[in-house]
Amino acid sequence: MKTRVKRFGPVDRAFHALLIVTFLTQSATGLSRMFIETSWGKGLAGLFGGYNSALTLHKYVGLVMIIGFLAHVGHLVLRIGRHPARSLSGPDSMLPRFADIREFFQHIGWFFGKSPHPKFDRWGYWEKMDYLGAAFWGMLVMGASGLVLAYPMTSTKFIPGWGLNVALWVHRIEALLAMTHVFIIHFAVAHLRRHNFPMDRTMFEGSTSLESLRHEKAGWVNRLKQEGVLDSLLVSESGLFARVLYYTFGCAAIMCGVYLLVGGLLNSGRITW
C-alpha cells in the first residue's frame, strides 16, 4: 500500500549517508586532537592509531568531503540545468524566500499557542538552514581553512605564515559550531521531537508518510493535490530489513554524535585552547 510521499532520490540519500560517515569521522579525529591533553582525547585518538594517525585520517577524509561537495555541486548544476526556473525560485527551491521569514515567526507563534501552525511547503526554513549552513557555508569555511592547514608549505606561498594561526582558529570555531549545531539542534529537530521520535527516516528511505506530511507540510500536500501529481509521488514503505538497517545506522550515528558532544563538553575545561 502506497502510504508515503517520495522526497529524496537515491543520489541525495547517498550524499547524506556519505556526509554522516565523513562528518562523524572528522568530528572524532578532530576532537581527539583537540582534546589530546585529556584521557578522553587520548582514548579517542587511540581508535585512529594515535595523535599523528588521527591527523592523517582527518586530512584524507577531509579531501573526500571536498570531492563529495564538488560532486554535489556538479549534481546540482545538472538538476538546475533541467529546470532552472523551478530550481532557483518558487516553493520547490532550496533558496531562502520571504515566505520562510513569515513562516519562521508564525511557527514561533504556534510554539506559544498564539497563531495557527504554518502550512509549510516542500522545504521548511529549518531544513534550508541546515542544508545551506552545513553543505555550503560549513563546507566552504571548513574546506578552505582545512586545505590551508593541511598543505602549509603551499598555502604560505600565497598567504603569510601568521595566516595559519588565523586559519586554525577559524577551523576550530566553525568545527565546534557545526558539531554543536548537528549534535544538538539537528538531532533534536530530526530525532527527538515527538513527531519524529526516535528517528525521522525520510533521508534514509527517501520518503515520508503522507499522514505525517499532512500535518507538518500541509502546504506542500495541498499544492501537490491541486497540481494533480500527488498520486504519482506516492510510494510503498520499504521492507523490514531496510527499515532495521536505517534505524540501526541512524541511531548509531546519533549515539556517536552524542558521545562526542558529551565528552567534549565534560572535558572542555581541561584543555589549553
Binding site: W110, P152, M153, T156, P160, W162, I173, I185, E216, A218
Partner: protein, 236 residues
C-alpha cells in the same frame, strides 16, 4: 749592474685589498651554503611569493643597531638603561645571551618565567621542548643577528628541522600566539582578534536564536493534545 727597484704593481695592491676585505668576511654570519637567507623580501621572495610581507618587519640590519637591554616604555632618553631596574622585566631583543645577568638563572627552568609561552601547540601537543627551537646556552635573543631563530634564517635553521621545505613566509607562523579573545590581542595580532570575535559572534548568534527555538518546538510537540488522532489540531 744597478739593482732595479721593484715598483708595487696594481695587481699586488688588489691582492692586498682583497685579503683585507676578504678577512672581514670571515667574521660575517655563517650561512648554510644550500639555504639562502632572506636578505630582502623585495628583491628575492617578492618575485616568487604572494605575501603581505609581514615577515619583512622582522628583518635586522647588522651593525646599525645596538644590542639593547631596554626597560619597557623607555626606549629613548638620556639613560634608557637603568641598572637599578635590572631585576624588572626587560626587553632583550638583540643579545647574544638573552638571559645575561639574570640572578640564579642556572637554577631556573624556562617555564618558571615564560609561563604563557609554554602554552602552545608545539609544546603541549607535540612535546617539543624550548631548547629544540631556541637552541642551547647561551640562548640568543630572537633578533640577535647570529641567532638561528633570527627571522632571516629561522625557516632554514629551525622550522625545517620538522617541517621539510619550510620557507620564510611559513616561518612567520606565530608559535607563541596570543589568546585571541583578549583585548591586548587587538594590538598584537589584530587579524586574529577580529576573525575570532566575528566567528564567535556568528556561533553565539545562531545558538541564541535556535537553541530556545528548538527547545520550544520540542516542548510544544511534547505537550500537544491529541484530537482526532492528529498532533496539530490547531493548524487551521
Amino acid at each position: 749592474m744597478p739593482i732595479r727597484k721593484r715598483q708595487p704593481s696594481v695587481a699586488a695592491f688588489m691582492v692586498v685589498l682583497t685579503l683585507l676585505f676578504g678577512s672581514e668576511s670571515l667574521l660575517w654570519c655563517p650561512t648554510a651554503w644550500t639555504q639562502e637567507e632572506v636578505a630582502s623580501s623585495i628583491r628575492r621572495y617578492r618575485q616568487r611569493e604572494l605575501s603581505t610581507g609581514y615577515y619583512e618587519e622582522y628583518e635586522v640590519k647588522p651593525r646599525r643597531q645596538r644590542a639593547l637591554v631596554e626597560i619597557p616604555g623607555v626606549r629613548g632618553g638620556f639613560l634608557p638603561y637603568s641598572p637599578s631596574a635590572a631585576a624588572a622585566v626587560q626587553i632583550r631583543t638583540r643579545l647574544a645571551d638573552s638571559h645575561r645577568g639574570l640572578k640564579f638563572y642556572e637554577r631556573r627552568r624556562c617555564e618558571d618565567c615564560h609561563v604563557q609561552e609554554t602554552k602552545n601547540i608545539h609544546t603541549l601537543r607535540n612535546g617539543l621542548t624550548c631548547r629544540q627551537c631556541h637552541g642551547v646556552e647561551p640562548i640568543a635573543s630572537i633578533n640577535y643577528y647570529y641567532s638561528p631563530m633570527n627571522p632571516v634564517r629561522r625557516h632554514a635553521y629551525v622550522c625545517s628541522k620538522c617541517h621539510e621545505g619550510a620557507n620564510a613566509s611559513f616561518a612567520a607562523y606565530i608559535v607563541h600566539a596570543p589568546n585571541p579573545a583578549l583585548i591586548q590581542t587587538k594590538r598584537e595580532f589584530p587579524v586574529l582578534f577580529y576573525v575570532f570575535w566575528i566567528m564567535i559572534t556568528l556561533s553565539v548568534g545562531i545558538f541564541v536564536v535556535f537553541l530556545p527555538h528548538t527547545l520550544a518546538w520540542n516542548l510544544r510537540e511534547l505537550f500537544q493534545k491529541r484530537k482526532d488522532g492528529t498532533d496539530h489540531e490547531d493548524q487551521g
